[in-house]
């Protein structure tokens, strides 16, 4: 929806520029008439056009908000997101999905991308994350530690081991020497969290940022000595048709690291 709104704004601004016939007011960083006619590769022109960002599902809320801010800061641009598990997105890119930026929830999938030479720029770390126990508001089952997750009758869901959040959850439980029998291994972190939000599961292990941005669950911290801290890297892609906007987006996110920390519960990179 927002994409089309932005698109119509772009079209409208083109028409205004065309009507002005060369008398660009330069009040905003829009391009000159010459660039409208196709020669956009001048160094003075601001980035414009649309990009597609493939991002880990844990970034759904924060990136959607940052996307609106980016579009406001750079009129004439539009950012479309596709959120999913990092491994899913990495496969999509390998299979030639037309995208401009990849933001991964872990290093491993970014490494795979780099190994396949699908990245145009070196990956930049923009945030860190760690795991937390997500529980129903009010903690009716009185879960205080990882060991409490082993209680019989407690419905625990985890991400599947094939996606980053599940791999990290396995590590954390192994570190704490706790053996939890999950009722389900979900396909991505959002699906895992949803089960707790719906009240169908009592507890889940997700990222702190998911608990912070959910608003419907309560978090119980996992001690740092057993927790896993993950680094989230982002890179522009060789398949990008709009590298100037893609790079502007990466720079924009790096400049708003503190927002990710204060508003969305991530850790500083």
């Amino acid at each position: 929806m927002r994409k089309y709104q932005t698109l119509s704004v772009v079209v409208a601004s083109f028409m205004v520029v065309a009507a002005a016939c060369g008398s660009d007011t330069a009040a905003s960083p829009t391009t000159s008439v010459a660039s409208v006619n196709g020669a956009t590769s001048t160094t003075t022109s601001a980035p414009r056009g649309g990009i597609t960002v493939l991002a880990a599902s844990s970034l759904t809320k924060s990136f959607t908000a940052l996307g609106s801010q980016f579009e406001a800061a750079y009129p004439g641009t539009s950012v479309t997101f596709s959120f999913g598990s990092s491994s899913d997105l990495e496969t999509q890119i390998e299979q030639g999905a037309p995208a401009d930026v990849f933001a991964s929830a872990d290093q491993q999938n970014m490494d795979k991308l780099v190994a396949a030479h699908d990245n145009a720029t070196a990956p930049a770390n923009f945030a860190k994350n760690k795991l937390e126990i997500a529980l129903e508001k009010g903690n009716p089952k009185h879960v205080a530690t990882l060991r409490d997750l082993t209680a019989s009758g407690l419905v625990v869901v985890l991400c599947d081991s094939s996606v980053p959040c599940g791999k990290f959850a396995d590590q954390v439980l192994a570190n704490a020497k706790v053996k939890v029998t999950a009722k389900s291994r979900e396909a991505n972190v959002k699906a895992t969290l949803t089960k707790v939000e719906l009240g169908e599961a009592d507890a889940a292990i997700v990222y702190v940022s998911d608990v912070a941005s959910s608003g419907k669950v309560e978090g119980v911290a996992i001690p740092d000595d057993v927790n896993v801290v993950t680094t989230l890297p982002m890179a522009t892609l060789t398949s990008s048709k709009n590298s100037s906007v893609a790079q502007a987006w990466v720079a924009f996110v790096l400049a708003h690291e503190s927002d990710l920390v204060t508003t969305y519960g991530f850790l500083a990179p």
Partner: protein, 278 residues
Amino acid sequence: MTGPRRRQGSGNAPPLVAIVVGIVGLCAFFVLPLAGLLWRAPWSDVGTVLGDAQARDALRLSLVCSLSATALSVLFGLPIAWLIARVQFWGRGVVRALALLPLVLPPVVGGIALFFAFGRRGLIGQWLDRWFDIQLPFTIWAAIIAETFVAMPFFVITVEGALRGLDTRYEDAAATYGAKRWTVMRRVTLPMIGPSILAGMALTWARALGEFGATITFAGNFPGKTQTLPLAIYLAFENNEPAGIVLSLVLLVISIGVLAAVGSRVLGARARTPALAQ
């Protein structure tokens, strides 16, 4: 304009254009995707993948759940189809639309809807939980319910069409000779729509076998408990594992085999029907 000429005896061969377009469609939508899978299939890994306990569990669960879902669809779908096709009542159009709703509903939404009905906090589910200590989500029952929910419309729509197209004079005649309603149904109606019931069952089973969205949402994904073959395939692809392709081929071989067997039988039975009717 002269009326269309009817040729007798030479069959009803479609015009050349239709044949060409048909072949192109067949290649583009059926043959090529399948060929792509076969092309990328890691043939040397087939043995290892099929020997894997988790894969065999998924296959077993898929068969159990899809066959159970088919049985439930027949049990409930037949009366539903009968009701919609034969009983005149106010709001019949709405009921028909309702019965076909899962066809248009995205399966994931179906899964969430099943939570709202049968989940721990659901309309019915909360009482099941409180009174009988029954929790359906994340169990094999949830997988069967999800598959039934998604697949039953295929049975209803097939059988309803057959019932509506049926010449009621045979049933009327049987009733005239004093047959009770139950006898008419058993001895006249069901045999006459038999091929459609079989076709409906095949479609329903195939849809249930491939069901993914509603199952992973409502039943979750746990190897050996609720992880059916489509779920195992999806998660294998997460890791870009060649196992995913092998498992997909297993699913394809089973379904094509059964559908081809049932299909030829249904077609054969259909071809015989006019002769029986005379």
